[in-house]
Every structure is written in structure tokens, then in C-alpha cells.
Symmetry: C2
Subunit: 277 residues, 2 copies
């Protein structure tokens, strides 16, 4: 899948297995070189957090005894910058049904992201209950998208495509006061979503609080990966429900073309001071 | 506050500062001895995950340059057991507004919990927006609670008190099929909730999926701590919206007596196979 931007830009190269391990004494893990590109910058001009998390996930997968990441939590310590990154992984615990790993992504000797994840073999067992439904959107062909150039320095908008029933208020210069939206999403170059790319996709949109006239930066992001997505457009729902004290949460749901919830994420973000005029 | 069960049972004793630190080269952290008691066991008879997370948080606080935990993510690697625990903490990154730390809780040499947290100084700055409201409950005096003994081995029910408008279906032997509920909550011994005890409280109820006739164990729990709670009863809302493939999420909101959202948590839990008859 090397022809797709996501796969090329999250590639990790093993620098040889390290003997380092977690405090548990679990073995496994290693050091990986990655090259963060300028192709996934967010609205603040920094490398997108979800992109770094997805790169960590690819490094983690190398030593994991189960194929499917089911939950990943990432803390964003510093802004990421385009250029080389070093990812150190450790297999924290390998159990009968679940394995846990940690990844530390550093740039120029400084830790940028710390991520912890659990891996399992996703199945279809047990009871099923859903108290939710995919967003009720017009077909993608009848939806509209913000022109790519509108996102300023946000090159990620060139790689991920969004379509919604109407253009967002912040784009029209009239923030709605309601930090919530529903839209279609897909990779622009035709790459289908999978468990490894969903952590990027749930962090790829403009911050929902733009509808309140402010912007923010992610402190922490937890992503649940609940099912392998079917090919095609993803129907998404994002909302910030609690904005206070200089912080807000943002919840994100991703439903695949078969109507299955495939990912659910929540981030805590810090509201940024207004830019100098 | 040593007279309260929570404070006594989450006490940590420094074993001397360690030179160990995260890959970032940040200094700080240390080793702490804790004694997990049998007073916070969950319905599965294991030490409650939120109790272990709260104990980690107390150890983390020692080296943090900011007073208020705002987000903590914990992965539960093994069941906790009553008895000694060792907590190793590291200050991962100390920035201008935010500090990040990691805690590893081990028992008998095996890692049990890995937790990462961000600390800040909570303020009241910036825009405020709320798309939610506290649960609409009758006053606590008009509500009912499940008799403590009904929770079997769950000693945590002796320490945390719950009251709701009507008794839960699972308790009456008639699971409702709706894994959602609203209720009042407080410590039985009169201890007021604070940022450090909320991670225990959001994990202290019986699993919401009991209303589907199944039970589960927590894999990962993220808690956002959004404001210092006012004294008094806490109004809570819990729901599992997506149960599939042997897993479910559970969302939890905690509102204080002043009507402020003080905590919001989400966990990923694995559904347990039925017990042998």
C-alpha cells in the first residue's frame, strides 16, 4: 500500500530490537525510525496529533501478539514538527486475550508523544446492543465540502476529504455557537480506512470549537477501535459538549458504509489564546 | 483526612526519590509503597480499577509542578489483589501550562496498572458552553438504594453509596435491556469528593451491562477532571451505548451539587464469559 500517502508517511524502520522493557519484565519492543512529513499539518501548522498516534501504532504493531488495536491513548507533550522521529516501543504485558504496549515518540531528543495501547483479536462474539445510529446525511454526491485552501496551513485537508449537508458556519464567517457537526470523510487518494488509520482520521477535522470562535490544541486523545471498517465513505459525528475553564472535550464517532460503529474517540483539548491581530 | 477510608487506603509512602526518568530526560518521580485493601473490591471480587488509578494519582501528585489532575488514562493489565503494591512514577514532561506523568503500579513484581496523567492549574478562563444538563433526579431522601449486601463480594458498595429513583432491573432479577442509569453518589463515611477521588468514583458502580444480563472487566479507563466539586451529593449518569464483539464502552458523567460537570469518563470493557452454573 506504499502508493498511498498514509502508508508512506507512517512507515517505520526498525533500528534493531532493544533489550529495554517495561517494569513488568515483559520482553519485546524496539526502536524505530520514522519521518514525519509536512503533509498532515493541522490548522495550527503543527504536525497532526492523530498522524503521530497512527505512526506510533504502526511501530507498536511489530511486537504485538494480537493483530487488532482496540484502544489507544495518546498524550501530546510538545508540538510535532516535520522531520525525523524516533519511536521506542515496549510490550508491557501479553495476556491470554489482550496485549498492552507503550510507544514513546521523540524528536531531536525530546519526547513528543506518549501512547499506550491494547491489542486483541477482534471477533463477533457476545451480545450486541446499540443506543446510537449513523448520522442521517444526504448522499456524498449531494453534499458540499470546504475548499481545501480554506484551511490555511492545514495540509491535512489535502489528504482527507470532508463533505457535509451545508458549509460550516466558521467557514462562512458566521460561527454557529454550536460546536457539533456531521459529515462524510475519506482519504482523498482512495486509501480505505482501517484500524491503523482511524486514529488519524478521528483527529483530522478542524476543531469543533471553531463554531464558538476559538481554536484549541489536543492534550490527550483516546480512541476505541471497535470493528474493521467496510470500504467506502465514513459517516462521522463530532461534538464538544463541555467547554469551560480553558478546556473542552471532543467526542467523535465513525460509522462505516455498512452502518457499523467502527471508532469512537474522545479528546481533551486546551483552548488557545487569541492570535495577535 | 486520615479518618476517611479513601484517604487511608490510597496512602503512598515514598521509598526515596529514584534517578529513573522518562526517555525525555525529564527528572522527577520516585518509588512509593501502597497497601491495597479489601475494602474496594468490585463485583468480580478483584480490587477496583478506579481505586488503583486513584492510588496512582496520589503517587503522581508528589512530583507534579501543578496541583490539578485534568486527565488520567489507565490500562488494567492484571486483576489487582489486596496487599502491598509498588508504584513507580516519572515526570514525563513539565511545560509552561501542563505537566505529564506516568505511574506503573506493580504487585509481587508484576505490572498491574499503567497510568498516564496531565496536571494543570484549573482556572475559570475562556468561553463556556454546555450541551448537557445534570440528571433530573428526585431528592436523595426520596430515592432508594440497593441494599449493600446485594453486591456479593463487592465491598466497594460499603464505601460508596448510590441512590436512584427506582431499584435497578438487574437487582430485581429483571434486567431492563437498557444499560443506562442516573443516580446520586457519595462516600458513605462523609468524605467529600475531590479531583483525586473522582477516578475511583466513576468506576465504583456495578457494570451498566448487568442490565443486559452480562458482566465485564475494564481494559482501559480515561477520566477528565473538569472542575473542583462542590460539597454534597454527586448526580451521575452512566451508559453503555455500544456493545459488540465482546466489548463495550461505558460513559460516565459526574455533576456536583452546584450543577457543574466535574468529571467525565469513558472506559473500554471486555464482556466476561458466563460463570459456571
Amino acid at each position: 500500500m506504499g502508493d498511498f500517502a498514509f502508508d508512506a508517511d507512517t512507515r517505520v524502520v526498525a533500528r534493531g530490537a532493544s533489550g529495554a522493557s517495561g517494569a513488568s519484565g515483559a520482553s519485546g519492543g524496539g526502536e524505530f525510525a520514522a519521518e514525519l512529513t509536512r503533509r498532515w499539518d493541522g490548522t495550527n501548522g503543527a504536525v497532526n496529533g492523530g498522524y503521530m498516534l497512527a505512526t506510533c501504532l504502526r511501530a507498536l504493531a511489530v511486537a504485538m501478539p494480537f493483530p487488532d488495536p482496540i484502544v489507544i491513548s495518546g498524550f501530546f507533550l510538545r508540538p510535532g514538527t516535520a522531520g525525523p522521529a524516533l519511536i521506542r516501543t515496549s510490550l508491557v504485558r501479553s495476556g491470554r486475550t489482550t496485549a498492552f504496549g507503550e510507544a514513546v515518540l521523540s524528536q531531536q531528543g525530546k519526547e513528543t508523544v506518549r501512547a499506550t495501547a491494547a491489542f486483541v483479536k477482534l471477533g463477533a462474539c457476545g451480545p450486541a446492543f446499540t443506543a446510537g445510529a449513523p448520522p442521517d446525511l444526504p448522499p456524498p454526491a449531494e453534499c458540499v465540502g470546504v475548499p481545501v485552501g480554506s484551511f490555511g496551513v492545514a495540509t491535512i485537508a489535502e489528504r482527507v476529504e470532508f463533505r457535509s449537508a451545508s458549509l460550516p458556519g466558521w467557514f462562512l464567517g458566521q460561527p454557529t455557537g454550536r460546536p457539533a457537526s456531521e459529515f462524510w470523510m475519506r482519504f482523498t487518494d482512495g486509501r480505505e480506512a482501517d484500524l491503523y488509520s482511524l486514529p488519524l482520521l478521528v483527529d483530522s477535522t478542524a476543531p469543533s470549537v471553531l463554531e464558538l470562535g476559538v481554536t484549541s490544541t489536543t492534550v490527550q486523545l483516546t480512541v476505541h477501535l471497535r470493528a474493521h471498517p467496510a470500504p467506502g465513505w465514513l459517516a462521522c459525528r463530532v461534538a464538544a459538549r463541555f467547554v469551560s475553564g480553558g478546556y473542552h472535550e471532543e467526542d467523535f464517532e465513525v460509522w462505516d458504509s455498512a452502518g457499523t460503529l467502527v471508532a469512537q474517540s474522545r479528546q481533551l483539548a486546551m483552548i488557545l489564546p487569541p492570535s495577535p491581530a
